[in-house]
Amino acid sequence: MTRGRKMVRQPKSGIVAVLFSVVFLAILTSENFLVAGQLQVNLGSKKENHPVANFSLTDQDGRPFHLTQLRGQAVLLFFGYTSCPDACPTTLSKLSRVYKLLSDDKEKVVILFVSVDPQRDTPSVLKNYLAYFHLNSIGLTGTKGQIDEVVNQYGAKYEIEQSDSAAGYHINHSTDLYLLDQKGELAGRFNYSDGQQIIVDGVRRLIH
């Protein structure tokens, strides 16, 4: 009988050990999770301490542009260049579809296309290029220094690559789409793979 009890107890103690391990692991994991969460919060508050609420460039009509001009409007901002054969037109055509889906809300959103190719993208080149996509958009350019400052502000990246292509150099660049709120502060970021509906939903959450 005693032996029998022992035999019953053994699995019980086994269960206890397993439960203990599970709880211990759960605590460990949740702590890690908290640490990760903390890091995210820290990153967020860091951005709040240094708000990306303004920058100055030149617009597609050759006039000075300050982000503060767009207070009260939501902004979708991304970096690219007009000779870009693939990523930039794909983003812009996706934004054309976003605009259609936004219907009446589209008046409240401005698209900023910041060129990382000031050598080729003069204001008039930008204006002609963007006119094709029928968006409420502003093309922005500037000196390399001014552009780099804005690129850094948003944590974007680009590199000019000299190649043996007949097209001359091309530019590799990050493809994130930044959502700025009505105060010019960073409210969200969309990945290249995010579909039009995700962007529409994000914009609507911000403006309603």
Partner: protein, 180 residues
């Protein structure tokens, strides 16, 4: 020699019809392997009759070229290339009546960073396809000699390995229409 070729092709067609027509399991299994049988036979016929550039070996579909903004001096062309043959084929160059140069390019997205590379060839495996689509491969059409409007036609000649050449006509489309 010609008689032998006709016989080979004829027997391949016959086998095709016979197997397609059969409903039994064996027939279905055989049909699964048929593309290989068929292409091997066509290849044999081609080898001995100099019919290597067989019209059915490379099939190009869903081809389009981006009707880019008027200010653009370059654009990109996309398509799907099917290889119905039993050996790998590669697209090695292209030319067009609408531009000075056409190059083969590949886009690569890594952690949200988009890179573009000029490449030497696009391989199409035996019995497989190569998809040229936004975010992947494209034919970069450089120094356009005219503005491409929606609906315009562009003629392009594609050079493959094994001396295979194809001339195709691409229709210019707005990107938001083509990428729906």
């Amino acid at each position: 020699m010609n008689g032998l070729c006709i016989l080979l092709v004829w027997s391949a067609m016959g086998l095709n019809l016979m197997v397609q027509g059969s409903n039994n399991v064996l027939g279905q299994i055989a049909y699964c392997f048929l593309p290989d049988v068929r292409s091997a036979m066509i290849k044999t016929a081609g080898d001995s009759c100099a019919l290597r550039d067989d019209k059915d070996q490379i099939v190009i579909r869903d081809e389009w070229i981006w009707a880019a903004p008027a200010s653009q001096k370059m654009t990109a062309a996309y398509m799907v290339i099917e290889n119905h043959g039993s050996t790998e084929i590669a697209l090695i160059s292209a030319s067009s009546d609408a531009s000075r140069v056409v190059e083969l390019h590949k886009m690569e997205l890594e952690d949200g960073f988009m890179r573009m590379h000029k490449i030497d060839s696009i391989k199409i495996p035996a019995g497989g396809i190569a998809e040229l689509k936004p975010g992947g491969y494209h034919l970069m059409v450089i120094d356009l000699n005219k503005e491409l409007k929606e609906g315009d036609k562009v003629t392009m000649t594609l050079q493959f390995t094994q001396d295979i050449k194809r001339t195709i006509t691409l229709t210019a489309k707005r990107r938001e229409e083509a990428e729906k």
